[in-house]
Each structure stands twice: as C-alpha cells, then as structure tokens.
C-alpha cells in the first residue's frame, strides 16, 4: 500500500485499470472477482464512476467512459510535443513503412504516448499509455544516454551495467539500437527528444521484424529517427521545463 492512499480512490482506480486492461464491457461480478472486492462495493463504485463519466454503464455491463478522452487530451497538451509530433511520426512511418512509437519521459519513467502502425500487419503489443522499459527498448536507452550522471542515480531502478556500457556508442551515433533484446525477432532504433537545455523529454523509435530490418538498414533508419526527434523538438514553440499550453 502506498503512503497516503485513500482507500476508495485506490479501489476506484483499480476498477478503472481493470476495465482498461480488458477493453470489453464487464459485469459487476466479473469486475468484483477481478479486483477482489465485494459485489456491492464494486457496484457502488461503478455507479459513482458512471456519474463522473469515468465509466459507461450499458445494461449491467460497464466500460471506460468518455471522461478519459478529456483527461488524455489535457495530458497531451501538457506534454507539449504530442501534437507537434504527429506529423513527424507520420513522415517517419511513411519513410520506413514500419511501426513508429512516441514516448514521453516523466519522473524517471517512460510511457507510450502515441504510435503509428506499419501498413504491414505485424503484431506489436505496445499499448498507448502503458509504461515502457527504460533498459530494454532502444528509445529508453537513447533517453538514458542523454541523462546526467546525477539524474541516472535518481532513477527508480538501478541502471544495469551492460546498458551503461552502451552509452558512449549511443552518444556517438545519436541513436540507440535494440537487437531482439525486448522481443525475439524484433529490431528497433530510437532517438531521444531533447529540450532546449539538452534534457530528454521523450523519445521516438522505429520497430520492425528482423527480416524486414537487416543490419544494413540500421544506419538508414537510425538517421531517420534522429531527424524525426529533431523535427519534433523544433516543431514545438517552447519545450521549457514548465511548458504551458496555448
């Protein structure tokens, strides 16, 4: 249990997280057993959440409600580069014809902010809004390589040595490479999005199955990813530490 956590709230959010995971309308009993709470309690919480439009009740079945859109839109505008990144991502996807990801870095953690799928149908089970690994993804490693030593020490998890060993190479190239580290048969390159002070705010990456992503393409895609990262930074009026929305 966290330090200051109001029980009703953590319960309510565990229901929301449950609904977000399932992505399908669930009944009260299903939810109750999933979050391990009495039916009556879950029912009351759902009722209350529905009043806030955080969930949507459809004849006894519940799902995530439209309030989420409002909040996510606000979050995106706070991040600052989310909107500006859309066109850069589109370009990158069109240039590579592969799946591209946008990440945002918040308080030592990396989150999927957006993605554009490859036109080829290949499963990539990344989920927008989910937490991403700083150590296993190319985007994460590219981001870490641009942190100061002090910032590296403040990370929630300790930095593995083998990741730190890659930093000189990443800094020299400008992008990070991930060779089937995260997932077998998948290769990706990622670059950090830096603000005006050189601090990382997020990252971009291109991922593809190795059979479409041979070693000789690494350099090509690497440069494209860097170009995208740069254009995202430049496309934003201000990427100051306290970026406000217009």
């Amino acid at each position: 249990m966290e330090s200051g956590s109001i029980r009703v709230l953590s319960r309510a959010f565990s229901i929301l997280n449950c609904l977000a995971r399932e992505r399908a309308p669930l009944g009260v009993s299903e939810i109750a057993s999933a979050v391990d709470l009495p039916k009556a309690t879950v029912y009351r919480l759902l009722d209350s959440l529905e009043g806030e439009r955080a969930v949507l009740g459809k004849g006894g079945r519940y799902e995530i409600g439209p309030l989420s859109l409002l909040l996510a839109d606000a979050y995106r505008s706070q991040v600052g580069f989310a909107d500006a990144a859309r066109s850069a991502l589109t370009t990158l996807r069109n240039e590579t014809k592969e799946t591209v990801h946008l990440f945002v870095y918040e308080r030592g953690e990396l989150y999927y902010l957006d993605k554009l799928e490859s036109p080829f149908q290949v499963r990539m089970h990344s989920r927008v809004g989910g937490r991403a690994s700083l150590f296993r993804l190319s985007a994460g490693k590219a981001l870490l390589a641009s942190l100061s030593p002090e910032e590296l020490k403040e990370l929630p998890e300790t930095l593995p040595d083998e990741v730190a060993a890659e930093f000189p190479e990443i800094r020299a190239r400008g992008y990070a490479l991930d060779d089937e580290l995260n997932e077998a048969g998948l290769r990706c390159v990622g670059a950090a999005i830096l603000d005006e002070k050189g601090r990382p705010r997020g990252a971009v990456s291109v991922s593809a199955p190795v059979y479409r992503f041979p070693p000789e393409k690494v350099e090509v895609y690497g440069l494209l990813v860097m170009k995208a990262a740069r254009s995202i930074r430049e496309g934003v009026a201000s990427l100051e530490t306290g970026s406000h929305a217009g």
Copy 2:
C-alpha cells in the same frame, strides 16, 4: 448531487476536471480555491491521485498524469471506429483542407473523439473529449436524423421543433448542414456513422469559415463527408452493438 455518488470520488474527479480545464501545473492552494475544498483535503486527494498516476506532482505543482492515456486508449478501442477513422479523417482533411471532426455518440450524448486541424490557422475551440451539442452542430443533426422516433423521445433533452423539421431534408441528402448556427462565420457539414443495423454510432464533420466555404461547395463537401462516414463504417471489422477489441 447525483443519486449514488461517493463524496471522495466526486471530489477527486472535480480536481481532475479542474486540472484538465487549466492544462497547466497548479498549486494545492489554487486547486483548493478552484474546487472549493480545504487545502488539507485537496492535498490528501492529490497525494492519492498521484499514487495512481492520475495526476503528476512536480515540486508542489500538479497536473494530469499519464494514467489518462491508458484509459483513453482503452476507450478509443472500445468505440471501435476510432482507429479506423484516423485514415478516413486524414483523407477528408486533405481533400477539403479544412478542419475535420470525429464524434462518438454515447447514451444520448455526443463527444468530440478526434480532430484534424486545417492547415490554415483558424481557431476552432473544440476540445477532444468534450461534450458536443446534438442540436446545433451539423454532425449532431445528421446523427439525430438517423435515430428512430422512440430513440428521439429518450434523449436527455427535448428535441427542438426546428431541428426535427430539418430531418426529411437531411435524410434525403445524407448529410446535415449548419449555417453559422453554432458560431457566427462558421459553416459545416456532417454525416452520421452508422453500424450494420443502421444505428448511429458517431459522426464526422467538416468546418470552415464561410469565406472559404461558399454555398456552391456545400454539395461537394457534403459528399466527401458522406464518403468518409461510409469508409469509417466499412473500415471496421465489426460495428456490432457489443464491439470488442482485438
């Protein structure tokens, strides 16, 4: 006060709504006065919300957190046509070079689901996730025109006669027109997105200032909007009443 509403929850969500409105980091005191609650209470709620990643605390200032992304992504996938619509929206925007909106219809209410801005810089103060008027927007009227008489009676608000009077025309054309009704100097056309049973699930619209949207273009844009609505429907594997995500 709603029927079954847990006080802590409605307070927590009023804080989230407040942060979403402001779109800038706020201090505890600012929030407390905005939502009219004691500072200590707001502080505790923020602390708890931060633990859930629903808000993000940055040195005494708080903003919406990344959990919103996860929830919104789930909501989009539940809606079913949100992802499929992206490419149809892009096409529509490129064809018209004007701002296009995507709406979702839920329980008698219309919500902004997505938008693509015109390359021309004209302010259109729509906010993704916000509620949209069923009676004043072309998209709303197009949607209403495709509802059955029984469904029309179940609407949260009573249908104005002048709106109902437009239905025959809208049904004949296949799209609805809004002549500066919603906002002076703004014209838009909208079409409903129907599922396999002919029930409306959402709508698409094109909006432009009248000086770029003369009467002779209404028919052209109207047909394009209809084409987009149709392609969104067809782009979705299943738009059944209980649409699940893959």
